[in-house]
C-alpha cells in the first residue's frame, strides 16, 4: 500500500539554523514526489517537485529511492519559513495525491 510518513509533527528551529523535514514513502513503482507548504491564512501551494530538481526559497529535496525518502532541507532557516509542510506522493495516472500528516515548522528569532 502507498504511504507517506512525516515523523515530525512539529519542528522548532532558530533563525539561521539548518532545517530538515523528513519524509519517507512506501510505493512499489516509480513515484512522483512533492513538497507543499501552507503559510498562515494562505492556500496550500506547491513548494517543490522531485522531477524538476530545483531550489525554491532556498529549499531543496532529493529523492533517495534506496532509502525511500524525500527529505526537505534548507541550510539557513528564516522566520518567513514558519508554515505547515506536507510531503505528497502521486502514484497513478489519475493524479491522486497521497499526503503525509504534515510538519509544522516554527522559526524563532
Amino acid at each position: 500500500a502507498q504511504r507517506v510518513t512525516q515523523p515530525e509533527k512539529l519542528l522548532s528551529v532558530f533563525k539561521g539554523a539548518p532545517v530538515e523535514l523528513k519524509c519517507n514513502y512506501s510505493y512499489s513503482g516509480s513515484p512522483e514526489l512533492f513538497w507543499y507548504v501552507q503559510y498562515s491564512r494562505q492556500r496550500l501551494q506547491l513548494l517543490l517537485r522531485h522531477i524538476s530538481r530545483e531550489s525554491i526559497k532556498g529549499f531543496t529535496a532529493d529523492l533517495n529511492k534506496g532509502e525511500t525518502s524525500f527529505h526537505l532541507k534548507k541550510p539557513f532557516a528564516q522566520e518567513e519559513d514558519s508554515a505547515m509542510y506536507y510531503c505528497a506522493l502521486r502514484s497513478d495516472s489519475w493524479g491522486k495525491l497521497q499526503f503525509g500528516a504534515g510538519t509544522q515548522v516554527v522559526v524563532t528569532p
Binding site: 512525516q6 509533527k9 512533492f34 492556500r43 496550500l44 501551494q45 506547491l46 517537485r49 506536507y86 505528497a88 489519475w94 493524479g95 491522486k96 495525491l97 497521497q98 499526503f99 503525509g100 500528516a101 504534515g102
Partner: protein, 111 residues
C-alpha cells in the same frame, strides 16, 4: 489564468443537516478535480476525484458524496451530517503542467 473558487469559507452545521460545498475552476477545460479533507493531526485525505463530467471516484467509504454536474464544477454533499464530518475541506484541480492548485478551503464544524 487558471483560478479555483471554493465556498463557503466557514460553515457551522447541526448534526443531521444537509451539506453542499461548491468548487469551481476557471481558465481551463476538462480538469481533473479532487476533494480532500484535512482532519486535525491527520494530514490531507483524498475523498473523491473526477476526471470528467458525471464521473466520480470515491476513495474512502463515508457519509459524503460528490457530483460533477459541469466540466468545471465539483460539489461535495451530505444528506445528514455527522459530528465526524467536521474538518477542513479542500478542492483541487490538476493542470497538465502546473501541477495541483488548491482552493482556499472550507472549515466545517458540525455541532
Amino acid at each position: 489564468s487558471q483560478t479555483i473558487h471554493q465556498w463557503p469559507a466557514t460553515l457551522v452545521q447541526p448534526v443531521g443537516s444537509p451539506l453542499s460545498l461548491e468548487c469551481t475552476v476557471e481558465g481551463t477545460s476538462n480538469p481533473n478535480l479532487y476533494w480532500y479533507r484535512q482532519a486535525a493531526g491527520r494530514g490531507l485525505q483524498l475523498l473523491f476525484y473526477s476526471v470528467g463530467i458525471g464521473q466520480i471516484s470515491s476513495e474512502v467509504p463515508q457519509n459524503l458524496s460528490a457530483s460533477r454536474p459541469q466540466d468545471r464544477q465539483f460539489i461535495l454533499s451530505s444528506k445528514k451530517l455527522l459530528l465526524s464530518d467536521s474538518g477542513f475541506y479542500l478542492c483541487a484541480w490538476r493542470g497538465a503542467t502546473q501541477g495541483y492548485t488548491f482552493g482556499s478551503g472550507t472549515r466545517l464544524t458540525v455541532v
